[in-house]
């Protein structure tokens, strides 16, 4: 058995890793192409199907009601993409992004978000090289379904007491939940040799926490600010999106 005492090189390496870890990076939580075995790719996609069907029906209903709604829904989708690709202000000069899923869920409803989510993820893969084709199912589940549904549930549960707090917590918890789901997805795909899935999950949660927790807080703050602005300046438009009834139904 070899025993290495820490040396300078090792410290430098660890310093590098830690710096990378506390530098929140765009799409850090998109599972990259190649990370999941094919069986998992298929399985996660299958898990998404019922939600996607639900979302499709919700959007289809909205378009059947009035064909002109399609350009509005497309703008909503483009907005989620743009929001997720804008560099948000940061103290350290690092480059971080919102996910936009919490806001999307509150504005458009979690069902519609599944379809908008998968479309946005496809464009993120094509245009920004975030995520990928084989991981599309897994990413859709974590970012387009799990996050938005939790965010929406939190928002619905709290919106009657204090709207701002409800919006903040919805976006914050939605983000955290996305990150937890992604970590679990990775842990299932790559269980630790000793300790298996549980150990691996703890490791993935641990390594991404320094980037994702602060990011979730910022996402919460920004979501509140954007939400208030939208509510103040564009009440009519928000209503036409079905916002008043709490998302597209």
């Amino acid at each position: 058995m070899k025993y290495l005492k820490y040396n300078k090189k090792l410290i430098a390496f660890m310093a590098f890793v830690v710096t990378m870890a506390i530098t929140p990076v765009a799409g850090a939580m998109h599972i990259m192409e190649g990370y999941l075995p094919l069986s998992h790719s298929v399985a996660w996609f299958v898990v998404c199907i019922p939600f996607l069907v639900m979302g499709y029906r919700s959007i289809k209903g909205k378009v059947d009601e009035n064909r002109r709604n399609i350009s509005m829904i497309a703008i909503a989708g483009a907005f989620v993409f743009v929001l997720s690709s804008l560099k948000i202000p940061s103290v350290t000069g690092s480059c971080s992004h919102m996910t936009g899923t919490g806001l999307g869920a509150i504005l458009f409803g979690p069902a519609a978000m599944s379809i908008l989510g998968i479309i946005v993820l496809i464009f993120q893969a094509i245009l920004l090289a975030h995520g990928g084709l084989t991981t599309l199912g897994a990413n859709t589940f974590s970012m387009g379904i799990a996050g938005p549904f939790v965010a929406y549930a939190v928002y619905k549960a709290l919106s009657k007491s204090n709207k701002k707090v409800a919006v903040f917590l919805a976006a914050f918890i939605g983000d955290l939940f996305t990150y937890i789901v992604t970590s679990l997805q990775l842990a299932i795909a790559h269980p630790a040799s000793s300790g298996g899935f549980a150990t691996s999950a703890v490791k993935f949660l641990g390594i991404f926490a320094p980037t994702q927790v602060p990011l979730a807080i910022i996402e919460g703050i920004l979501t509140v600010l954007i939400f208030v602005a939208l509510e103040t300046y564009a009440e009519a438009e928000m209503k036409s999106l079905g916002f008043a009834s709490g998302g597209m139904k």
Partner: protein, 296 residues
């Protein structure tokens, strides 16, 4: 005399305009559309690269299906030799055939590097209070332990991931997004989704343009002077681009209807036949990869 003057003036205007005329420098300017907001460098100009690829003329369905097969082989066979072959072959297609510069290609490959480093590191190492691993690194009260086989496994995953990424970006660096959407249409993705995708793609750029203008105007008014102000400004701009575009959604629809739109976006799609050489390359690739897998 007066007449001459007027004519000369007109000529001047024309001359001046001619200098600005070629779209080239405009394009160069705006190809950084995403790079503006995205400090990851060139990778964000994937869209721009795709339109200027030398292999844009290849049949998009062929490219898409080949990408899928190559991805399945690379991930499914899970073999370091296959991964390396994939990286080399895809690099060849993108750089030599597609004309992407080596630097641009590499920076696109490196976009997800943080995720790869962090994610893979967690696969390769364990934490322990006792030095029970093959290799142990002492860190205060705990040890980071790993073993040769774990490190090899980690290396294999990194190769596989890069193989898969190179396959994916070879498609996206040579095929504009709408051509990929066109392939999805052929693969019978529901019409409504295809409509949404086409519109979303277009509106992304309209919104990005609005964003850039608003950001510049906010910057000129010290909107990013400190962190708190920045957050407020960012949220203001973000909500604004949405409202501004949403208020115009009716106008966008009017413009479509004025050209006889009836619920399906119809565009002329160029016929791009598959050439024997391309098909040959694809078959050769699959054979080589399978042979490598069988031999190792």
């Amino acid at each position: 005399m007066k007449n001459n003057k007027i004519d000369r003036h007109k000529d001047d205007i024309n001359k001046e305009a001619c200098v600005h005329e070629p779209a080239q420098h405009r394009a160069e300017h705006s190809h950084r559309l995403f790079t503006h907001h995205h400090s990851h460098g060139e990778g964000s100009s994937i869209d721009y690269q795709a339109y200027h690829s030398k292999i844009r003329g290849w049949n998009p369905t062929f490219k898409f299906l080949f990408t899928c097969i190559a991805l399945i082989l690379c991930i499914g066979l899970d073999n370091p030799y296959v991964s390396v072959t994939t990286i080399v072959a895809m690099g060849f297609v993108s750089i030599v055939l597609g004309g992407v510069s080596f630097h641009d290609y590499l920076s696109t490959m490196m976009l997800p590097i943080t995720f790869i480093l962090l994610g893979t590191l967690m696969i390769g190492i364990d934490f322990s209070l006792t030095p029970k691993g093959e290799y142990n690194f002492h860190f205060g009260f705990f040890y980071i332990i790993t073993s040769k086989s774990r490190l090899l496994h980690m290396g294999a995953i990194i190769l596989k991931v890069f193989g898969a990424i190179s396959t994916m970006i070879t498609l996206t660096l040579s095929t504009p997004a709408t051509e990929i959407v066109g392939v999805l249409r052929k693969l019978k993705v529901p019409k409504l989704i295809i409509e949404l995708m086409n519109m979303i793609y277009r509106y992304i750029f309209v919104m990005m343009d609005t964003y850039r203008q608003m950001k510049e105007s906010a910057e000129s008014r010290l909107g990013f002077v400190d962190y708190k102000t920045s957050l407020h400004t960012f949220a203001g701009i973000a909500s604004n681009i949405f409202v501004v575009t949403l208020k115009r959604s009716g106008d966008y629809y009017n413009a479509l209807e004025s050209r006889c739109y009836e619920g399906e976006l119809l565009f002329l799609e160029e016929e791009k036949p598959i050439k024997a050489v391309q098909a040959g390359f694809a078959v050769l690739y699959v054979v080589v990869v399978l042979a490598l897998w069988w031999a190792t």
